[in-house]
């Protein structure tokens, strides 16, 4: 299966091809960065939940008070 859909907008030529080695390396780096980003989001959500717990607030009450999670 072709990985990449590529078009030249000037000519209209469409190419369907596999990733180049450089693109594959970038894709792996992107996946790692995405994992780190998701971990940071999860960490922030956990910190928020812990803070709400300390304050004795439910998630719904926090949304009511603050307009939602930042």
């Amino acid at each position: 299966m072709a990985d990449v859909f590529e078009v030249d907008a000037l000519t209209g030529e469409v190419t369907k091809r596999a990733f180049t080695p450089e693109e594959l390396a970038q894709r792996e780096a992107d996946a790692l960065a995405e994992q780190e980003r998701q971990a940071a989001v999860a960490e922030r959500a956990a910190a928020r939940a812990a803070l709400l717990d300390r304050l004795g607030l439910t998630e719904d009450e926090a949304v009511l008070l603050l307009g939602g999670a930042a």
Partner: protein, 200 residues
Amino acid sequence: MPIAINGSGPITGITSLNTSVSDTELGYLDGVTSAIQSQINTAGGLVLITTQTFSSSSAVNINNCFTSTYVNYRVALNVTSPGGVVAVTARLRASGTDTTTGYFTAGVGINSSGTVQNTAVASGGTFDFTATPGTAVWDFMAPQLAETTRGHGLYSWFDTVLVGRAVSILQNSSTQFDGFSLIPSSSTITGTVRVYGMKN
């Protein structure tokens, strides 16, 4: 209300909506239509550069869509699958190569349950374009000029809730971009992308 005759005056003889119009007068209307179209053609507006439909693609590269013909561009994207939420990120590219650094992102969002979902990235390697299944409309300002490129996007996606975001990006380089790439964070994507040039 007076109606121009071939651009030069009112059509005569029309006193109510039920009044019939002669063939000659219809000819005048044709002339008016052509005149108006000519004005539209020379005025501003969006000009379609390319429409591409892709299926089960791990990356979508649109090359040579930003040229010296237009300064500013609009990109409209509709991604129909996959059904689960998959982030669709993007990069600007030049001569067939993505630029992988220097993307600043700032935006606000909220979902249909009322939860705020803002986004803020300083000098990232990519920028969020939308998520699946979803849509996006982005305007890119002067991407092909040797100056910083700015973009402004509105996008939304729907899974169990609707999420909408309004986001601005800045690509902090003087690279003269001629295209962009769409990159799902996982899986593959299916959809349609259209690129328009904004006439000056």
